[in-house]
Symmetry: D4
Subunit: 146 residues, 8 copies
């Protein structure tokens, strides 16, 4: 059966495509899933249900619609990759990591060296820490083919 990998976190660079291309090149049988990565669409995920004037409730409504997708995908995944980029708070990525930790779902992190310290609790629950998408692909190759 295919191996399922959910790609959580940063949506402003093409790291998901890099991993997908690397896995394809390595001939790995992986189904990659992800949250909706179109920022505006994601913010508006609940607007068709009526758009609350208050910013908090609009965000609340959209986030709960997004969670239908993301929690199902996380629970189906055999492995989750959590990406922290250089910009933005990305608390949702840390939230997903905590969610995985509580479910004993294996996850690996992908972030640069300069944010090791603030991510130490997130990394402590991870199976591996990668700094490049090549390392993620190599990890997947090892797990599936070695």
């Amino acid at each position: 059966m295919s191996f399922y990998v959910y790609l959580s976190g940063e949506i402003h660079t093409d790291w998901r495509d890099e991993i997908q291309r690397g896995a394809d090149a390595a001939g790995l049988d992986i189904v990659f899933t992800a949250p909706v990565t179109d920022h505006d669409a994601s913010d508006a995920a609940g607007d068709h249900l009526g758009k609350p004037e208050n910013g908090f409730w609009r965000d609340h409504q959209s986030s709960k619609v997004n969670a239908i997708r993301t929690r199902t995908m996380i629970e189906q995944a055999d492995l989750v990759v959590v990406r922290f980029g250089d910009k933005y708070k990305q608390w949702n990525a840390a939230f997903d990591a905590g969610y995985c930790a509580a479910l004993a779902k294996p996850y690996i992190t992908l972030h640069s060296e300069d944010i090791i310290h603030p991510l130490k609790e997130v990394d402590a629950g991870a199976q591996a820490w990668c700094t490049t998408t090549d390392q993620v692909v190599e990890t997947l190759r090892y797990v599936l083919k070695a």
Copy 2:
């Protein structure tokens, strides 16, 4: 029996004391728990086991020692309060929120209005969002006494 509340997140202001004082003033039977809030002690939690030269492994070792304390306390808690302050990334706070969400452990968030948007996934899983410690105390009072 007493109600257990774990106070997660920011360690640079005295919000935990404010909640404790408010709960005492209201006569609530609550046991408050928290991570080690001495920043230096927390960073050095694993140093007595031998201090790795590499920063990553030192953080790793300390975080896993801290997790013995924090995960036990989160699992014992009836409610978790997750605080996001104005400074620092506080990914550990978001991690704790995700951990609670996966366990179906109720949690409430405490943060100012200007970070509603980046916290929308974290707030979407919460039972309530407070902006002041008074609101946290009032929520506790309602839950326990009303």
Copy 3:
């Protein structure tokens, strides 16, 4: 140790007091818990967090605050009594029954004979169906003392 009984549902008659008095008279060691039964206070449970203009979000906010109390109590209970009165929809009572069923938490129902048919799925998951508070007390007495 004491036996915990959560009394769910209708808040417009004094059925909870009747059961409490009956259990006291029978000398049973039971801790009874309940949702906040002051209707106005319950509807306003979240108003201290800022009252949304829209009725839906005000109800949403208050219900989530109430759930901190009710879900904790249901999970602590050894038995849940779910009361359906003659008035109102009481979908929250049926919701609590479904919640118990999924958790394999034993519950009994308390309702008159004329609503047997619409409650058949709720009763099918219950350990017993009572029509009077005396029957509830007698059931408790049997479970604890016989």
Copy 4:
């Protein structure tokens, strides 16, 4: 793999067909499941086992047979839609919602605006509230295709 959606609740209007048609038109890969929606057949689900004279036990027997079908389908579902119509008590719909809540199974509600208040606990546990079947279809489209 296909996405499974269980359609719970009201059986007197054709809302299930509307959602099915909308999902087909949108090209969504969804398997819809439902309880037996023929009211008389459902009430008689257990009659082939011998029909108890007493109304309570006939209902009890049939409901337990129906539950073989409904609980299996709810547990297989990735998402549950819970419909509350204008007529009837529909406590079984609220029961299913509570069942989902306890299993952390995502569900959305479908009901008109005039019953927001009595459904507030049910809506508080839902990922979204829809008033039309078009909104349900749009939510499904977003979750699966956006």
Copy 5:
């Protein structure tokens, strides 16, 4: 997907075949599973591992080998049918019923009317009680096709 039904209990009559034939005739998409029903083979299930002299340990060894098969099948089943015949103690059938009850796995019983009383706890946890294999088939037909 197919519906899985595990047929537990009595191995001295051909009730399994009757149900299989009835389900085939009704065109139901069901995969039936069962323990090893050859009595001598079942008793000797562990003999290839060395046959203990003592009767207790021989039975112990064989039962644990059989459990590899039966527990896996019970856990994969959507429904379990538990048959109590007229002869033998069949404690293993009651054991399987209790196992299902604890897992919230739906099961139905199949036994004649004269053993209602000693089976009352087993029947109390079942979704239905049948006296004939035709009733079992009709129940399956209803659950899958009605």
Copy 6:
């Protein structure tokens, strides 16, 4: 804290008293629990709710009331002792054993040598098989004091 032992099964001999006396003599800190052992009271456990004419439903109603007591006690127990006597079918005892097995709750059996073979599946899931109440007491003594 005290050790909880639930004594399941046969109700026609005084084996429960023997174990209780033996444990007292050995100074063991054990709380023993048990089902209602007055046969007539147990059969009538649900009669105060209205006595169904049909034997099956009367038994059904009483068994479900009894289960409020027994399942709570089994789940609270650290160890369950399941007794099979010389008379009666005692399918409820085997049911309790299966229930424990599925919950990974340790249980030991107590029965004479001549029913080893029909009880082989029940014994295969047990932590120990005793033939005398003295052996049960000695096992408890070892577990708690050695």
Copy 7:
């Protein structure tokens, strides 16, 4: 569907091939999975992430990468075979057995007679103890085909 068997433990003899060949010869529909059995590759599983100087952290890093593979495979398995050879400590094999025991995942052991005593706790949680790969194959044949 296929039966999944994870082959845990010793990596210095060809016992996995023997079982595979025996199962093929017997025509069994089994998917066998295993850890990475190339010793050097396994020790280096995390080296592509940067090789820590300290031996402990290199082993730590590689073991956590290996665990992505092994825990997923153990959780997917219907049965685990745990092999203890004549050399090496093989604590990882005993670790896998304990992991299975806690998950109620059936496992069988494969080891020679002279290490019965030190393996007694591991064997006590197993469904069977084999001394030869032929016995393992015969057990699989019985479970799947008898």
Copy 8:
């Protein structure tokens, strides 16, 4: 409430006493539990049930009696310390570590530096690795008092 620590593994040195004394000296509120550490008593744990001639079954019987004690204690523990000494295989210690890992129960290991490599999978799942009992005590002190 007190913190529960289960001390698993080696029984031939007085490491348990050292930890107990250290914790007492530090004024920590800890309840320490352990398996039966009298080697001969442990091997004979099941002999009062009849001593099987065959060594395998005697060990089997005793191990299952011991497991009543050890599994209950592990499940009650907030933290498990797993000790690997210089002698013996101590597969039971590795088994306990795997058992903890699957339950997400935090554990720490205690062993000398020369067995890092064969214990790498066991250490990978641990929260900390200690080489001295002083380090264990310091870890406990930090977790409970810092």
